[in-house]
Amino acid sequence: MIGASGPSHEEMIGRLVGDLRPVRRTRPPLVDTLLWTSAVAAFALVLTPRVNFDALAARLTAAPDMWLALAGSLVTMVLATIAAFMLGLPDRDPRWALAPLPGLALWLGASGLGCLRAGLEAFGPIPTHEIIDCFAFIVGFSVPLSGLMLLLRRRAYSLRPTLNAAIAGLAASAAAASLLTLVHPFDATVLDLGVHFIAVGVVVVSNGIASRRFGGA
């Protein structure tokens, strides 16, 4: 029996039963992952007219670590997407939250290698508009991708809503950073890399904060 100020378990069950409505079950996480990554692929197709394929191919051939950095951001995107949908189901292992780490390590490591290879040029001047463009691109693409993730997760129920939203933000920003490589196939300088990861951080933290303020379990 609960204290004097709360309902008994029987009363609580009565209220919940009275409130029962039929529900549609959540889709399997891998189906949602496929739907969301298809949307990212659609964004990539939309960007195709803006891609200079010759410059991209030349750059990726000359700098193998750029391949690795791109592979890292793509692996992070896929693993973070699966993790975000898995964590929306209470009976899935919470260690799914760790799944994006290998991709993230590859992404950060390869990007760091790019900086080292660029050497002194790493500290060379970068036009301010380029920095702003990169930041705006990552944040700008992350917003609709986060929105789509939210739409696909609307029937999910996470027991760790803030962590879940942050991982969804990581998936969205990793996707945006991967798309950025298509239109911005340059070596990552320290400043460039810093801007990219600040943008990723902004998206991850914003998703986490938004989940605390506007929803969650």
Binding site: A4, P7, V23, T26, P90, D91
Partner: protein
């Protein structure tokens, strides 16, 4: 001895899980009778699990209600092809952790000040008796209506002015648990003595 399947789960437990899966599937389709049966069947399981997880006995009932509410809000996430027991256990464990965190935060923000009444004297100097005999009877009656743990905390800490350490030693309850019970007891007393919520 239960017959054990190759997954290490007794046949009875597996049969019971299949029954609960079927009830949950019906509940997802809007069957209220099945839902009521399911929630009632969950109650002892949740209680046992919370006790095994070491949840403070005074927090168990509140945590059970948190779990019931979570089951209700998350019911669409249950996949009937997977074990119901695991789904329920994960929710129960998470709510047990939440309860322990809330309890810890609450205990950290409360300060015991037995001398507060003596050090903060009423400036009005009103010579009238603080409470009338009638009021004393009402208060006594209301205290008697409190659940045992809350009544004990109110009597020891508020009426007999025992320190938290003394009360803890005599009752075997933790200091945090006594604080929570005192807080709830006083809140319930306010509600009982002032049912219309006037201040």
């Amino acid at each position: 001895m239960d017959a054990v399947t190759n997954t290490g789960i007794s046949r009875e437990a597996e049969a019971e899980d299949l029954r609960l899966r079927a009830l949950m599937r019906s509940a997802q389709d809007g069957d209220r009778v099945a839902y009521e049966d399911l929630l009632k069947a969950c109650l002892p399981r949740i209680r046992r699990r919370l006790q095994r997880r070491g949840v403070d006995p005074d927090l168990v009932d509140d945590t059970i209600q948190d779990v019931l509410l979570t089951i209700h809000r998350a019911r669409q996430t249950y996949d009937p092809s997977r074990p119901f027991a695991v789904w329920l256990a994960m929710i129960t464990d998470r709510r047990a952790i939440d309860a322990a965190r809330r309890h810890h935060r609450h205990a950290m923000h409360e300060v015991s000040s037995p001398d507060a009444y003596e050090t903060h004297v009423d400036d009005s100097g009103d010579p009238q008796p603080f409470v009338t005999t009638n009021a004393i009877d009402r208060i006594r009656g209301s205290i008697a209506e409190l659940p045992a743990a809350q009544r004990d905390a109110v009597e020891r800490l508020s009426l007999r002015q025992q320190s938290l350490t003394e009360a803890s030693q005599e009752t075997g309850r933790s200091v945090g648990s006594l604080k929570v019970n005192l807080h709830r007891g006083l809140k319930a007393l306010r509600a009982l003595l002032n049912p219309e919520g006037r201040s």
